[in-house]
């Protein structure tokens, strides 16, 4: 531990050199700007900006790329809160309450709490990297297909936490998401499913066009229908969070930090799972669950913290074992190798100065991110005063670029339009859209986990119960489903009771 501390101090000495500080700053700025663009998420943003770092030395290049990565995670928050257009899939949950806060004139506190939560989550995750990375990563690698399936089952069971007034409508949305996820190539046998002979459907529906349609385009339809002049039509309250806001956000930030950190250690989980799970957990433990979806600050604080904590923790398997846990960390791994560095245990032995400099820069980068973004909140919030017809035009242009750039296909624009109509209809019918997104992402992971597990056990379902981790997770999922069912049968505080 003492040796790690001394190496970390040496890392700070390198990371605090003016040129490396500049690279971290540029990375945070570029990452935030990229994250703001709808549809261009951290993975695409990091990949797009790799050429910018080619001319730099390895330390500077990786410092900048890491800053781009977590900068993009925060950038996605800005459009989610201000415009209900998720910058990337992991920001979908922030739309649920962040946008409602913006409509109430509280965009400033929403963005501020998101920035502070992201800083805390990212910093704690980086501390975890320093102190307990290796043993925790070894534990996380015990997650095989049965544990993965059980973890996804826990995630799906928390769908009930995303239900509004009606559990039936939430379940229908969730099942629809699972059905949509069936479209494409079967993950185990490779057979096409529900493609109807169309080449474009072999990959299924991309998550980005779906979420941009459901949330962004759907909201545009609602606003043009009612001839909205501006995004919000009340007066703007203070840009600074109140003491009550900070008090209400404290425990959600703590819970989001640890949830995002733990899930970041497990390769393959993805950034969306921590945000949805943290939202569901907050709604479940809240004394005012009926406020979620109407501008509850906890609904912004926890997912945003979990998001950034996850982003930093996902670097741990990469650094310690050379295993990229997500598409973005895989791109970072490519950047490592382009600079002649091989991530993994030997990185700390052969390039200790580089490794600890990058870790130190993660601390510094998280600090730069919050210092950079807090003063800009009034600028971002001023966007809301733009006449809606102009704002809408710009949103549509960026959405078209965002979805088209994924695979250079106009089919994705059609998917976005289609789901925009679905999102509009669902909003009218009070059918929640968040369960659809959650199950669309978790469904394929769960199906793959189930079928791989059953291949391992030759069709024996007891594999999920004889492995301790898997058994515990299945138990948690069962407990959540049972308690949710009983809760749904009891009157919900402050809302009509409907099943």
């Amino acid at each position: 531990m003492l040796e790690s501390f001394q190496l970390l101090m040496g890392g700070f000495a390198t990371a605090l050199q003016p040129v490396n500080l500049l690279f971290a700053l540029i990375g945070c700025v570029l990452g935030t700007l990229i994250g703001v663009l709808p549809g261009v998420g951290p993975a695409a943003g990091t990949a797009i900006l790799i050429p910018v770092t080619v001319v730099l030395d390895p330390t500077g290049a990786i410092i900048m790329l890491a800053a781009i990565y977590y900068g993009a995670m925060y950038g996605g928050t800005i459009t989610s809160v201000l415009l209900n257009v998720p910058g990337e899939a992991a920001s979908v949950v922030t739309c649920l309450d962040g946008y409602q806060m913006a409509k109430q004139g509280r965009a400033g506190p929403a963005l501020a709490v998101a920035a502070i939560g992201s800083f805390i989550g990212g910093t704690v995750a980086t501390m975890g990297l320093v102190l307990i990375a290796l043993p925790l990563t070894r534990f996380a690698l015990k997650f095989g297909p049965p544990e993965f399936f059980a973890l996804m089952l826990v995630g799906l069971s928390l769908v009930t936490g995303l239900a509004g007034k009606s559990l039936v409508r939430a379940l229908m949305s969730a099942i629809l998401g699972l059905v949509i996820a069936q479209i494409g190539i079967d993950p185990v046998m490779g057979a096409p499913r529900f493609t109807f002979g169309r080449m474009e459907l072999l990959d299924g529906f991309g998550i980005v066009p779906v979420v941009m349609g459901l949330f962004g385009i759907g909201e545009i339809f609602l606003n043009v229908e009612r001839r909205a002049v501006q995004v919000f039509e009340t007066s703007m309250s203070s840009l600074i969070p109140t003491l009550k806001d900070m008090k209400d956000s404290a425990w959600p930030i703590i819970r989001g930090t640890f949830l995002g950190f733990f899930l970041g250690l497990i390769p393959g989980v993805g950034a969306v799972v921590p945000t949805f799970l943290s939202y569901s957990i907050e709604k479940r433990v809240s004394k005012t669950p009926e406020q979620f979806g109407k501008g509850a600050i906890e609904g912004v604080a926890s997912p945003e913290t979990a998001n950034n904590s996850y982003a930093n923790a996902a670097l741990i398997p990469l650094f310690t074992l050379g295993i990229p846990g997500s598409p973005t960390t895989a791109i970072l791994m490519g950047a490592f190798m382009m600079n002649g560095l091989i991530p993994g245990p030997s990185l700390f032995k052969d390039h200790a100065q580089f490794a600890w400099a990058v870790i130190a820069s993660l601390y510094i980068g998280n600090l730069i991110l919050v210092i950079l973004n807090l003063p800009f909140i009034p600028v971002w919030v001023a966007v809301l005063k733009t006449p809606y017809s102009i704002l809408m035009t710009l949103i549509l242009a960026f959405c078209v670029v965002g979805v088209y750039s994924l695979s250079s296909s106009v089919f994705d624009i059609g998917v976005m339009l289609g789901f925009g109509l679905v999102g509009y209809t669902f909003k009218k019918l009070d059918i929640p859209t968040a369960p659809l997104v959650l199950t669309m992402i978790l469904g394929p992971l769960m199906e793959r986990g189930l079928r791989q597990s059953l291949e391992m056990s030759r069709g024996d379902f007891s594999i999920f119960f004889v492995r301790p981790l898997s058994a515990v997770l299945v138990g948690i999922a069962a407990l959540v489903i049972i308690t949710s069912t009983f809760r749904a049968l009891a009157p919900v505080k402050g809302a009509d009771s409907q099943i």
Binding site: M189, S389, G459
Partner: protein, 152 residues
């Protein structure tokens, strides 16, 4: 809200039936476990069951009043139609005409149809949304956007 939920329930029931029909064409189970049709089949049954519950709730259960703005007025639907038309036009014109020209036309149309902004503002915003966006993405970030027959 009885009638809307009855209609929604019927739509979901028909969708469930369609999914079940398609799932039957896929392999249900193999010697190693569930096949491609396994999940689809059970999802269709669950969805169908939920649809029936929704229909029954709408017919016999307590129902909230329909909000006053549930149905938009004629102008509202025309405005939504304008956005839909703009996106459909984008789909068909983006590759032949190129990103810049297509988005310029689409943005100008929307600003005129929905915002009635001044001519100069319309042109400026349309230029920024089209040619400006093209420059940032295609030239600076090297994200390829369609160039169309005119090369931009």
């Amino acid at each position: 809200m009885k009638r809307p939920y009855q209609v929604t329930g019927v739509v979901f029931l028909l969708l469930a039936a369609f999914i079940a029909y398609e799932a039957l064409k896929l392999r249900y189970y193999t010697h190693l476990g569930p096949g491609p049709g396994f999940f689809s089949w059970w999802l269709s049954l669950i969805l169908g069951g939920l649809a029936i519950v929704m229909i029954l709730q709408a017919m016999f259960g307590r129902s909230e009043a329909m909000p006053a703005d549930f149905f938009a007025d004629r102008i509202g639907y025309l405005r939504i139609g304008a956005v839909v038309l703009a996106l459909v036009a984008t789909i068909y014109l983006l590759e032949p005409l190129g990103f810049s020209l297509t988005m310029f036309a689409v943005c100008a149309f929307l600003l005129y149809a929905l915002g009635r902004q001044s001519f100069i503002l319309t042109v400026l915003v349309s230029l920024a949304s089209s040619f400006g966006t093209y420059y940032v993405f295609d030239r600076w970030l090297k994200v390829p956007l369609p160039r169309g027959v005119f090369g931009f």
